[in-house]
């Protein structure tokens, strides 16, 4: 679909400003958590012209093996082309590493609205194991929840069970 749009004849797009490009890149939905954008996920490190003048978007992966990375890269490249930066680039950066603390407040709210319990902040010294009373159930709000499976439907999610409403729900693993 995107291929067709790209090859179609269309007038040269005016070059959008860096701020505009950044806003559009941040709005790109995450392929695995489509309810939040890349900005709220905290993976957009910078949008700035590189030494050769081309606009460069720095993305940090949530997990090194994240299978959504190629999809994210091509979606951002499409935004760059749409914004009049066909020579724009996406660069993967690893420092500083992404942690769940990089998710914005708005991102946390959107996750919770969609039944995914947002991560609890990471204590110094490492991730907090999911414990009874740690994570609120996104369905009934009870904190009487317990771990069900530390690995879940995608690499960044674990599965918890609520002992009050008996629902299982995904939880973004604190990292």
């Amino acid at each position: 679909m995107s291929g067709e749009t790209r090859t179609a004849e269309r007038p040269a797009t005016a070059r959008r400003s860096v701020e505009e490009v950044r806003a559009r890149v941040e709005a790109v939905p995450d392929p695995e958590l489509p309810m939040i954008g890349l900005g709220d996920l905290g993976v957009v490190r910078s949008v700035a012209p590189a030494a050769d003048g081309a606009l460069e978007v720095e993305i940090t992966p949530t997990f090194l093996g994240c299978p959504a990375l190629p999809a994210i890269t091509s979606a951002v490249e499409e935004v760059l082309a749409d914004c009049g930066h066909p020579d724009g680039r996406v660069r993967q950066v690893l420092t500083p590493p992404w942690t769940t603390d990089s998710i914005t407040e708005a991102g946390r709210r959107k996750l919770a609205d969609h039944g995914i319990a947002p991560p609890v902040p990471v204590a110094p010294g490492g991730p907090v194991p999911v414990e009874l009373g740690g994570v609120a159930c996104p369905h009934c709000g009870s904190r009487a929840t317990r771990p069900h499976s530390p690995f879940g439907p995608s690499r960044c999610q674990s599965v918890l069970r609520c002992t009050a409403c008996h629902e299982t729900f995904p939880h973004l693993t604190a990292l």
């Binding site: 992966p61 997990f63 090194l64 093996g65 994240c66 299978p67 950066v93 690893l94 420092t95 500083p96 590493p97 992404w98 942690t99 490492g126 991730p127 194991p129 069900h148 499976s149 530390p150 690995f151 879940g152 439907p153 690499r155 599965v159 693993t173 990292l175």
Partner: protein, 279 residues
């Protein structure tokens, strides 16, 4: 090196030239060494990831299917970064795919531990216990490297491996303290993999040169801490750490076990059928 005041300018220039030449040779030697080391680490992650994939749809529970496949996915992610960095440094310009899919068995330099057949679930847990404790210690050490790519990888990968380590610790305890049958299997699993653990900490000239140059620390000094940590988990599981009389070696120089060939064939099967195919 000192320069005496009576040295003629021309001689000084020649000597300075020799110095930069030597420095350049050192830098390229370090780059080549680093490429070798990163290939080893990348092969460890790639081969273990491939092995763990063989559990998919065969794990004891659906949660374990998710756990082992998620861990495998992380390992393949680590391999991608490490092989990409290695290909950039070794002067051949090979990509991660070139390295994973076009090398012969003998060109892989993973430690033998990572290619061991899965065995039963307890043997897989024992291998995970040994590898994750080693990898989390070594990746934490890499996080302190001056090279920003390597340090970034180490910091990121250490966090992911810590999660895998907890999975291995939990299962070691559960199997060790479970039924007589699970205890027997966990003990047998540890005995099966322990002769393959020493190779992870081996030093050779490549490792020694990199450590001496301050580029990458050697894994050898981490071994006592590794022994303490895995020993603690094994003791809590009511078991004892095996003390094998022999240790297998060879993976780092491309000498592999009999079961390695089929693993590589499976890993490269699509590329062998459709060389260079894209979709």
């Amino acid at each position: 090196m000192t320069t005496t005041s009576d040295t003629a300018p021309a001689a000084r220039a020649v000597r300075a030239g020799a110095r930069t030449g030597a420095a350049r040779a050192d830098a390229s030697r370090t780059g080549a060494d680093l490429a070798v080391l990163l290939l080893r680490l990348g092969d460890d992650a790639l081969v273990l990831g491939q092995r763990l994939c063989q559990w998919i749809t065969r794990a004891p529970t659906i949660e374990e299917d998710l756990a082992l496949s998620n861990i495998a996915l992380d390992l393949v992610g680590h391999a991608r970064t490490l092989l990409t960095l290695s290909g950039r440094l070794d002067g051949t310009g090979r990509t991660e795919d070139d390295l994973a899919f076009t090398r012969q068995d003998r060109e892989f330099t993973n430690a033998l531990l990572t290619e061991l057949p899965n065995g039963d679930f307890a043997a897989t847990v024992a291998r995970q216990l040994a590898y994750t404790h080693y990898a989390s210690l070594y990746y934490e050490a890499l996080a302190g490297c001056a090279d920003p790519d390597l340090a970034g990888f180490g910091a990121r990968a250490a966090k992911e491996v810590a999660f895998h380590r907890r999975h291995a610790d939990d299962w070691t305890l559960r199997l060790g303290l479970g039924t007589p049958e699970s205890t027997r299997r966990m003990r047998a699993g540890l005995e099966r993999v322990w002769p393959y653990t020493a190779e992870l900490f081996d030093e050779d000239d490549v490792v020694r040169r990199l450590a001496a140059a301050g580029t990458v620390p050697s894994p050898a000094p981490l071994r006592p801490l590794w022994e303490r940590r895995v020993g603690e988990v094994v003791a809590r599981a009511g078991l004892t750490v095996p003390a094998p009389r022999w240790q297998a070696r060879g993976g780092r120089v491309g000498l592999h076990t009999e079961e390695f060939g089929p693993l590589v064939a499976e890993l490269q099967s699509v590329h062998r059928q459709f060389p260079g195919g894209t979709w």
